[in-house]
């Protein structure tokens, strides 16, 4: 593990965490959510963070997502030192470097898919995005929702809503895609569908970190990091990596009726 950060951004790790600790005060008690975590993720990696609830994986995820700052230790995101940044700097960093996908989709209700996806571009302060509507439309086409841009979240299935959320995460061309239990609210079919999309995006070169407690889902990634009691317990590459696209084809062959029914239901909506 190199101690000096290389100047060339292309060779810098996307994530570099050194001895990160996070302590919360709960009344008189101190809760140690993270007790010294080290982690390096290179460009193009696809990592699953696993762990039971209370293991500290959510805290780690918030830290990686620049929503929270460590009590001690250092964090570099794409070569930028994150710990010690102000609230506004963190907000700008989230906007420019990160894309979020949540378990509950977290789309704005009563707002079209297109407007939802456009939103992160509107909060940009660098002025680098010109035609925000066109960029949002392109991102929606990329996740296969080119036909449903004007639909509101309530008119979309869970899988489709998660696709909109992924499009929203992608539209700013982030360095890192963070997904917090992205398939937690989806059935097995849609789970494979979403994982297939993640694998496709990863193949296109996007670095992804996702939190999950489902081993099946973790098997679609390239590397599994297991967190327990605020420390990284195991960190190993996935040996038998599943191909979600192939699994999806198999699913369609074995249960075509169900899929048809779902398609009909989607069309009706």
């Amino acid at each position: 593990m190199p101690n000096v950060i290389t100047k060339d951004p292309a060779t810098m790790p996307v994530i570099r965490i050194e001895n990160v600790r996070k302590t919360y005060k709960m009344g008189d008690n101190e809760v140690h959510a993270l007790r010294g975590v080290d982690l390096v993720a290179e460009r193009g990696e696809m990592i699953a963070i696993m762990g039971a609830s209370g293991s500290g994986k959510s805290t780690l995820m918030n830290m990686l997502g620049c929503l929270d700052t460590p009590t001690s230790g250092s964090y570099w995101l794409d070569g930028i030192r994150v710990d010690g940044l102000s609230r506004n700097q963190l907000a700008d960093l989230r906007n420019q470097k990160l894309g979020f996908v949540f378990q509950g989709f977290n789309l704005l209700a009563r707002t079209s898919a297109l407007d939802n996806v456009e939103l992160p571009l509107l909060y940009d302060r660098t002025g680098r995005w010109k035609d925000t509507k066109a960029l949002a439309a392109e991102a929606l086409r990329r996740v296969g929702l080119g036909e449903r841009m004007d639909h509101h979240p309530s008119e979309l299935s869970g899988g489709q809503q998660q696709r909109v959320a992924i499009a929203r995460a992608l539209v700013t061309q982030p360095t890192l895609l963070l997904a917090d239990e992205p398939t937690g609210n989806l059935d097995s079919h849609m789970t494979v569908e979403i994982m297939s999309l993640f694998q496709e995006l990863n193949d296109q070169g996007i670095s992804i970190v996702l939190v999950t407690h489902e081993p099946d889902v973790a098997q679609y990634t390239k590397r599994i990091v297991e967190v327990r009691d605020g420390r990284i317990k195991t960190d190993h590459p996935v040996t038998d990596r599943h191909n979600a696209a192939r699994d999806l084809r198999e699913l369609l062959e074995t249960e075509p009726e169900e899929d048809d029914a779902e398609l009909v239901a989607e069309e009706a909506a």
Binding site: N62, N88, R94, N106, L122, Y123, R168
Partner: protein
């Protein structure tokens, strides 16, 4: 973030919650509407009082006896009556800026017609009186210069006198006893109604001042002289001319005080206007209370809305909204809502004022300043009462906000 985008985001949010927006605006609508109606009624009252004062006769100057000064001891106003018919005649012959001059010899006495009697005001005036007061005749004619010169016993009576002494008949040509002197009625004045002081102006009998002095009052002193200037622009100059002629007539040495007073209508009007202005302000400030209540309504709904939209705020922050972006969004929302409410309230107020005018017969007027004030104030209400909820939203922790159910 560009301000146009901010306004768009706030506008979207307002349109997507129509019911909430309407309820929020209601308080401001009522507040602004009430202020506009109250000011309109107050302004209407001011206008009608101004009209009543103008009805006394425009360009009017009133010359009344002033205080006399006996050996350095001021005797107070009216203590020594030094306005005479000669003064009035001098004003009439030497004045260059006067449309008319009329002395007024006032007596209050009982008048008798046939079997009925009536106590009324007898005014001995000149023929100019009719033009000075712009007083039309209902029937008959005004007395003539010839009547005045020859001290004929003729009278022009007011409407109240006519209806009380000669009910149902035209009194022109009838006899009227004033202090046992028989007068012939030559004309009846048109109704003028109450003056600004609430007195019935139609309860009056006009006779030539020459007749009044020789037959009724018995001396040459008169109560006041009415002078009308040629035009409103001439009033200050005419006032100076009256003073100059009067001083000359009274032989007042240079440096001594006037022993008479010249007042113009503006002064009288201002006094009356002042009273109604206070009333208008009183009404408007009572109505402003409802505007403040409306503002508190906005704050309440905005506060609830911040809680209700905690997750939305969390999402916005997660994808890169700064605290200031959220603050501005909520502030713009509240300003847009209150200004919109102010505009609707303005329409309600103007409409309400004209409906009120239609049904009550009060004249109403909506001044431009009131409109500007109402809109400005509602925007200020939006900023003031929107700031606290907006700051609360901006201070939210994104993690907590995202987890909020």
């Amino acid at each position: 973030m560009k301000s146009s985008v901010l306004v768009r985001i706030a506008g979207d949010s307002i349109r997507k919650n129509k019911m909430r927006t309407l309820l929020t605006m209601l308080g401001i609508v009522i507040g602004v509407g009430a202020v506009i109606i109250m000011v309109a009624v107050g302004q209407g009252a001011q206008k009608s009082i101004a009209n009543q004062i103008n009805a006394l006769g425009t360009n009017l100057l009133v010359v009344t006896p002033g205080s006399s000064n006996a050996g350095g001891v001021s005797q107070g106003a009216g203590t020594f009556n030094r306005i005479t018919v000669q003064d009035a005649e001098k004003l009439k012959s030497e004045g260059t800026l006067f449309a008319g001059v009329s002395p007024v010899v006032m007596t209050r006495t009982q008048v008798i017609a046939g079997g009925t009697n009536w106590r009324t005001l007898i005014n001995g005036v000149s023929t100019d009186f009719q033009t000075i007061r712009e007083w039309q005749l209902q029937s008959g004619t005004f007395f003539t210069d010839n009547d005045q010169r020859t001290m004929r016993k003729v009278a022009v009576i007011g409407n109240t006198v006519a209806t009380n002494l000669y009910p149902g008949t035209d009194p022109v040509g009838a006899q009227l006893q004033i202090r046992n002197v028989p007068f012939t009625i030559v004309g009846v004045l048109a109704t003028k109604g109450q003056n600004a002081g609430g007195q019935d102006q139609d309860d009056v009998v006009l006779v030539p001042y020459t007749t009044a002095q020789s037959r009724l009052a018995g001396n040459t002193r008169i109560g006041q002289v009415l002078v009308s200037a040629l035009s409103p622009q001439d009033i200050p100059a005419a006032q100076d001319e009256v003073r100059a002629i009067m001083r000359e007539s009274h032989r007042i040495p240079e440096g001594d005080d006037d022993d008479f007073t010249v007042r113009n209508q503006t002064e009288i009007a201002n006094a009356a206007q002042g009273t109604t202005k206070i009333m208008t302000w009183l009404l408007a400030s009572i109505a402003s209370v409802s505007l403040i209540v409306g503002g508190i309504g906005i704050m309440n709904i905005m506060l609830v809305s911040v809680t209700e939209r905690t997750r939305e705020i969390g999402i916005r922050m997660a994808i890169g909204a700064r605290g200031s972006d959220v603050l501005t969004q909520f502030l713009v929302e509240s300003i847009v809502m209150s200004v919109l409410g102010g505009a609707v309230g303005l329409a309600v107020g103007v409409g309400g004022a004209s409906v009120l005018a239609h049904f009550t017969g009060w004249s109403t007027a909506v001044p431009v300043q009131a409109v500007a004030l109402a809109i400005g104030f509602s925007a200020a209400v939006g900023v003031f009462f929107g700031f606290y909820p907006a700051r609360k939203a901006a201070a939210l922790d994104p993690i907590t906000a995202l987890r909020y159910e």
